[in-house]
Amino acid sequence: MSAMLELKNVSAGYGTFQALFDVTLSVNAGEAVAVIGPNGAGKTTLLRAISKLINVKSGDIAFEGRSLATVEPHRIIELGLSQVPEHRRLFPRLTVEENLRMGAYMEAARPKFAQRLEMVYALFPRMKERRHQMAGTMSGGEQQMCAIGRALMSGPKLLLLDEPSAGLAPVIVQSIFDLMRKIRAEGYTVMIVEQNVRQVLKVVDRAYLLEVGRIKASGSAAELLASDEIQKAYVGL
C-alpha cells in the first residue's frame, strides 16, 4: 500500500542554513502520526516544506502518489493538505466566522461553506458563541480551536498541526489534546508536530523523533513511549 504522504530524503533550510537532512517519513490514510523532538530540531521547517512555504533543496515530497515539486504554494490546500500553522496565525482583526470563511477560500470549498461551518460549530460549540468576535481578542485555547476549524473548512484529507499546545496554559494544553482525539474520532488523517512528547504519544499511532534535522528514531507510539531514549530525554521520568 502506498502512503498518503511520503517524504523521501528531504533536505531543506533557509538560505545557507540547512534545517533538515535526508528526512524520510510517511503517513498512511487514516493514521495519526507525530513528529516529536526538541525546540529547533526542524519540526516546523518540515511542515513548512510540506506546505511549500519553503522549497526543498533535495529529495521529494509526494501526496497521494503525486510529487508536490511543481505545485504552487496556494494550490497545496486544493490537493487536500491543510495546515494549522505554528502560533495559530489567525487573522486577528477578522471575526471568527470570517477566519473560517478564509479557510473555505478555495473554489471547491465555497459551495460547501454553510455545511462545513455547521460541522465546525458542532465540533467546537464555543466558536459558534464567539462567531462575531474578533479572533485576536479570544484566549489562546479558543484561538487554537478557531485555527483548527479554519483548517477543516477546506475539507482536508490530511490535517497538519504545528505545535498545537505551544504557548498555552497547562490546563488548556490538556483540552487541546482532548480536541486532537475528537478530530481523530472524526476520521481525519493527522500529522502532528509537537514538543509535548508524553501527551502527543497518547494521541497518535506512530511517531518519528527528529533531532537536529535528522530522523533519529521511529516506531509505534507505544514503542517510543517505552524506549529509554525517549523516557530520559523527553518524558522526564
Binding site: E72, H74, M102, G103, Y105
Partner: protein
C-alpha cells in the same frame, strides 16, 4: 446675523460635499497601502490621466459623458494594474524608501508625459450643472452628485470587502501575509486585483473632479498631497480613519476659507495636520504597527 449664519451653514455643507469626494480619493490610496504596503505617490496623477480621458472622449470624440466616465474608470484601472506589474512588483521586497522613490518618480514621469502629450492649457469638459437652491443656500449639483456618487461607491466597496471571499482576503492579507498560501490565497493575485480596484477608484475620482475642476498636467499636485495627508491623519491603511480625516480636512479648508480666504483654509488644514503629527503620529485611528 441671520444671513451670516446661513452662509456659514452653506460653507459647512460645502465642506461635507468636498469631504465625501476626498474620502473616496483617500479610500483608494488606503486600500493600496493596506494590502500591498506601498504608497502610490502618483495616485493623483492617475486621476489626472482619467480626467484627460473624459475630456478628450467627450470634447474631441463626442462621446456621451457617462460612456466617457466608464471608459476613464476602465483605463485608469488598467493603468493601476500596469503600475503594479511594471513598477511596484520589482521593488516589493525593497526598502520603503526605494518604493517611495519609484512611485514618486512615476509622478514626475506622468506629469512630464502629460505636458508633452496634452500641453499646459487648462481644459474643461464644459458641463455646467445648475445649483440646488434651498432658501438662501445654494449648492452646486456637480458637488452634490459627486459626493453622493462617492458615498455609493464607498458603500459598495465596503459590502464587497465585508461579504465576498475576495474582499475578506483583501482585508486579511495585511494582517498576516505569510500564511495566505496556507488558506489557498495567492498574494500576487490579490495584489493585482487590489491594484485594479485602486485604479478604478482613482478613475472614479477623476470623473467626480472633472465636473468641478479644469484639467492640466499639474492638477495632481492639488489633490495628491491632500489625499496623502488625509490617509496619514486617519492612520495610513486604516480606511475608517481616512474617512473621518477626510471630513475634518474638508471642514477646516471650507470654514477657514469662509472666514479668511480659501488659501488660508489650506494653511489651517496643514497646520492642523502638523500639530496632529506631533500629538498622534500614528493617525486618528492608527495604532497597529
Amino acid at each position: 446675523m441671520e444671513i451670516f449664519d446661513i452662509f456659514l451653514l452653506e460653507t459647512v455643507l460645502n465642506g461635507v460635499l468636498f469631504g465625501g469626494v476626498l474620502a473616496l480619493l483617500a479610500l483608494g490610496l488606503n486600500l493600496i497601502f493596506g494590502v500591498i504596503d506601498v504608497v502610490w505617490i502618483c495616485y493623483a496623477e492617475l486621476m489626472m490621466i482619467g480626467m484627460y480621458t473624459v475630456f478628450y472622449l467627450t470634447k474631441t470624440f463626442g462621446w456621451n459623458l457617462f460612456a466617457a466616465f466608464a471608459a476613464a474608470i476602465v483605463i485608469v484601472s488598467v493603468l493601476g494594474v500596469l503600475l503594479h506589474v511594471l513598477v511596484i512588483r520589482p521593488v516589493l521586497d525593497s526598502e520603503p524608501i526605494n518604493q517611495l522613490l519609484v512611485t514618486g518618480g512615476m509622478l514626475t514621469f506622468m506629469q512630464a508625459a502629460a505636458t508633452l502629450a496634452f500641453g499646459i492649457e487648462f481644459r474643461n469638459v464644459g458641463v455646467s450643472m445648475p445649483s440646488l437652491v434651498l432658501g438662501e443656500i445654494s449648492l452646486p449639483w456637480s458637488r452634490i452628485s459627486a459626493a453622493l456618487t462617492a458615498l455609493v461607491a464607498m458603500v459598495l466597496l465596503w459590502l464587497f470587502l465585508k461579504k465576498t471571499y475576495l474582499g475578506t482576503a483583501i482585508r486579511a492579507i495585511s494582517q498576516d501575509r505569510g500564511i495566505m498560501p496556507l488558506v489557498g490565497v495567492s498574494p500576487a493575485r490579490i495584489y493585482l486585483t487590489t491594484s485594479a480596484i485602486g485604479g478604478a477608484l482613482a478613475g472614479l475620482g477623476a470623473c467626480l473632479l472633472v465636473l468641478q475642476y479644469d484639467v492640466h498636467p499639474a492638477i495632481g499636485l492639488s489633490f495628491g498631497p491632500l489625499t496623502f495627508m488625509v490617509c496619514v491623519l486617519g492612520g495610513l491603511g486604516n480606511m475608517l480613519g481616512g474617512f473621518i480625516a477626510a471630513f475634518i480636512f474638508a471642514q477646516l479648508i471650507s470654514i477657514g476659507g469662509f472666514y479668511f480666504h480659501i488659501e488660508w483654509g489650506y494653511v489651517m488644514a496643514f497646520a492642523f495636520f502638523i500639530v496632529m503629527m506631533f500629538v498622534r503620529p500614528q493617525g486618528i485611528l492608527g495604532g497597529k504597527s
